[in-house]
């Protein structure tokens, strides 16, 4: 019966990382691996969802009001003019927005450029749509864009490019210079850009989040995908969107209608409240995450990791194992779970081509309650040697 699987399904294998999950679960470890909060969602947004359910917003619906609010945001944040009736597709999370976008624009054999390290889902989604992911490595330690590498990645078959900024797993925020390079290639090579901006509001040190779509000549070739999940700490609600030129947005909507039909109705309703959150909400979101970032950054440096920079966005730190550590990332995480009772994610899952560093990185998430972070710190600090470094680092 295995032959009944599609080619894609056959090529996917579970990983040793899954074993680590089980190990962590059994030992009740402190979880700095999962990219979602362990603190509650904002009360005003939860209240909106509760109200929607009790007011019978429970049948199939498309809440057009979300589109109007997104239009305002796009104008405010990026100076973009978006048509709420034609340019937006509401989907079940950014995941579905991305998947529907791929199905909307990729023909079998089309190549799509991705920057690595990269969130695993992109590549597989592209393959599922019949496309070919082409990886361009960002250069450690600062994960800078190498223009030559990017140029080399373009071929006659390149259809699109995916940009995730703020970036998972590194916490990098692509700066204007890099965006200009990317935009230039998109324009000259007539390439479509798809952005994943789910961490758009989780950005630090007054760094601006610039959407690639706001650069000259980019709006009519860029699809922005994002969602409620990270900004409003409701990763389980599954409300996201794609914003792009109307012909593509229309295609995305039509695909979405056939793939899931609609996003959960009460949460679409609650999205109206979420998207109307006052400026103070975003300011305090950033401030809270920034202090968590600083705490974890300090901790990791103290215990001997090589962390070259503080992430400017997202809630991840991509820490390097020092030269002296003879373990691979997977082995290290295993030790971390067993010895310290703390979980993190081995970085190898984010790399798709071999580099001499692809198993030297560990991703720590700090989207956790202060108590969780403090507990993680205490556990790790108990295992340091005389020099203050984690015994097995």
């Amino acid at each position: 019966m295995e032959k009944k699987l599609s080619s894609i399904a056959k090529s996917l294998k579970p990983s040793p990382i899954q074993q680590l999950s089980l190990l962590a679960q059994r030992g009740n470890a402190v979880n700095l691996a999962e990219g979602f909060p362990d603190f509650p969602a904002p009360p005003h947004i939860k209240a909106a969802a509760l109200s929607a359910i009790t007011s019978d917003f429970n049948q199939y619906r498309h809440v057009q009001g979300i589109c109007s609010l997104l239009v305002d945001k796009m104008k405010q944040m990026h100076g973009l003019d978006v048509d709420p009736l034609t340019d937006i597709a509401i989907c079940c999370g950014q995941t579905e927005a991305f998947a529907a976008t791929m199905f909307a624009i990729i023909n079998p054999g089309d190549e799509v450029i991705l920057f690595e390290p990269s969130f695993e889902t992109y590549g597989t989604c592209i393959s599922m749509a019949g496309g070919i992911p082409v990886y361009v490595a960002l250069d450690p330690p600062y994960w800078t864009l190498d223009e030559v590498k990017l140029l080399d990645a373009f071929t006659a078959k390149t259809k699109a490019l995916v940009l995730n900024s703020p970036h998972n797993p590194t916490g990098k925020v692509f700066n204007m210079g890099e965006l200009e390079i990317i935009a230039e290639y998109c324009r000259t090579k007539d390439c479509i850009a798809i952005t994943d901006e789910v961490y758009e509001h989780i950005i630090y040190d007054n760094e601006p989040h610039i959407s690639l779509a706001s650069l000259p000549g980019m709006q009519n070739r860029t699809i922005i995908t994002s969602s409620l999940s990270k900004t409003y700490s409701v990763t389980g609600w599954r409300v996201g969107w794609a914003i792009g030129p109307s012909c593509i947005a229309s295609a995305i909507r039509n695909i979405h209608t056939k793939v899931t039909d609609s996003a959960p109705a009460p949460f679409q309703e609650a999205a109206l409240t979420a998207l109307r959150s006052p400026p103070e909400y975003y300011i305090s979101l950033r401030a809270e995450y920034e202090s968590k970032r600083d705490f974890v950054f300090k901790l990791l440096c103290q215990v001997g990791f090589q962390v070259e920079f503080k992430p400017l966005g997202s809630f991840f730190i991509f820490a390097a194992l020092p030269e002296t550590c003879k373990l691979t990332d997977v082995e290290f995480v295993e030790e971390l779970i067993k010895e310290a009772g703390v979980v993190a994610v081995p970085g190898c899952g984010f790399f798709h081509t071999k580099h001499d560093y692809h198993n030297r990185y560990i991703r720590f998430a700090f989207c956790k309650d202060d108590a969780t972070l403090t507990s993680a710190a205490r556990k790790m600090q108990q295992l340091v040697d005389a020099s203050g470094r984690l015994r097995f680092l």
């Binding site: 009944k4 894609i8 979880n31």
Partner: protein, 461 residues
């Protein structure tokens, strides 16, 4: 669930184009989307987040607008060829027209009454309790267990909730994940027309070769000889729906047995969409998975929405043996990754509802069905027998309109009632031109009003 399932995939494989053998009908040029059906957008769409009232509800999710930017010289349409099948749906168009004319909407397949409090309360509590983050990708364990328990009660089959069930955003996604996870470009899949409109679209997304067998009035029975002639060793799967939307037909044990023996003989899979299984009136629903030799080759698809009048919650699932569920699970993890968390807890409670809930549900719907069917008959429609679902299909030709779309437009404008033209459910639209679909998932007053309008204003020719 510890890590998002996306992280668990090893990156050490390579996908190359040699996996794909595009069938010969693929061409490399791209075609623009057909926007030839143009309806202006009613202003209500801007404030569509209002509570449902039967004549103003919007079913569909795609505002029926003209796309402005057909092609500009430097930006040709760059959409995939597969999208020929993905056009603005008939539901949107009918809904817009309905609102314009204040028509009573018996077209949309969702209730104008709400789900039960005992289910909604669990969702509310889950949100309050903080269950608002990613659920385990393939389902919250409690829901998987509840699904397995219910399936066992319904079919006698014992399935492993952790290994044989994937929870999805509605049955629509379960269908998409099943097709994308188990069908390769060029694979032959048999469907029965008329069919739910996502089937054709999703199959074409997977590059399948669609073979269509039409179910015909008056009883839409399975044309077994035709099926025998079309099933071969080259057939990858049969996609079926029972109880059947739009006809209300339910596949009998004999018909299922015939399908089963062909599948076993030719090693064919079955994808069985059973969302209306609890809305079975004239006979008992039978899951084909329960027939001898069938569980190992069947994916059974279902959802919460129809049974519990919560169509907007998007909780569905696929049940299949481990060697098949793997493909579904993978595709699902890349389509939506996880399903809405609080609703899953509520769905588990729903599925544990006592028998009395289902009895009440059937009784309720039976009463509604009677109002509609008696009404339609008395008005002069030729009403085909519907054993299940909350739909009936009728022949409109006594009223002298040339086809189903024309009849539906006439019905909206002159009578003030909405039905759905069935041609959209056929591969060859002309096969549906005499038939339109009415739904009775509306409160009794709405149904009586609709019947009243038809009695008053619809004249036989």
């Amino acid at each position: 669930m510890l890590l998002p399932s996306c992280i668990i995939i090893r990156p050490s494989f390579r996908i190359t184009t040699t996996f794909y053998k595009p069938s010969s009908h693929w061409r490399h040029h791209i075609v623009p989307i057909n926007h030839s059906r143009r309806l202006s957008v009613p202003t209500f769409i801007n404030s569509a987040s209002i509570s449902t009232a039967s004549s103003t509800t919007v079913e569909d999710h795609t505002p029926s607008v003209m796309a402005q930017d057909g092609s500009t010289p430097h930006h040709p349409l760059q959409v995939a060829k597969r999208l020929e099948k993905f056009k603005t749906t008939i539901f949107t168009q009918m809904s817009s027209l309905a609102i314009e004319h204040g028509a009573i909407n018996l077209g949309q397949g969702f209730p104008n009454f709400d789900g039960p409090d005992f289910v909604k309360d669990v969702a509310i509590q889950a949100i309050k309790d903080g269950k608002n983050q990613y659920a385990r990708g393939f389902g919250v364990p409690d829901l998987n267990s509840a699904i397995a328990a219910r399936f066992h009660k319904d079919t006698g089959l014992t399935v492993d909730p952790e290994k044989e069930i994937t929870v999805t955003s509605g049955c629509t996604e379960a269908i998409a994940a099943t097709i994308l996870g188990l069908i390769n470009p060029g694979d032959e899949v048999i469907v029965f027309a008329p069919f739910y409109d996502s089937y054709e679209a999703t199959l074409s997304m997977a590059g399948a070769k669609i073979t269509c067998i039409t179910l015909r009035p008056p009883d839409f029975s399975l044309p077994i000889e035709e099926l025998k002639s079309k099933v071969s060793k080259n057939t990858r799967a049969i996609l079926m729906n029972t109880p059947h939307n739009p006809t209300g037909k339910m596949f009998t044990r004999e018909e299922l047995g015939q399908i089963a023996s062909l599948c076993i003989e030719n090693d064919v899979l079955v994808f069985s969409d059973e969302v209306y299984d609890k809305l079975s009136f004239e006979m008992d629903h039978i899951s084909i998975a329960s027939l001898p030799g069938m569980y190992e080759r069947t994916v059974t698809l279902n959802s919460l929405g129809k049974t519990f009048s919560l169509t907007g919650w998007k909780i569905g699932w696929a049940i299949a043996p481990t060697h098949l569920i793997w493909g579904v699970k993978q595709a699902h993890s890349y389509l939506t990754f996880a399903t809405s968390t609080p609703m899953q807890y509520a769905a588990a409670a729903a599925l544990r509802a006592p028998d009395s809930y289902y009895e009440e549900l059937r009784k309720d719907y039976k009463a509604k069905k009677e109002i509609l069917v008696e009404g339609l008959k008395s008005v002069g429609f030729n009403v085909y027998p519907s054993s299940g679902t909350y739909f009936v299909v009728v022949d409109h030709t006594p009223f002298g309109l040339p086809n189903d779309v024309a009849f539906c437009e006439y019905l909206i404008k002159e009578v003030g009632v909405v039905a759905i033209p069935t041609s959209v459910f056929y591969l060859d639209p002309s096969e549906g031109k005499n038939l339109v679909r009415f739904t009775f998932c509306k409160d009794e007053e709405t149904l009586r009003n609709a019947v009243g309008r038809m009695k008053e204003r619809l004249a036989r020719k």
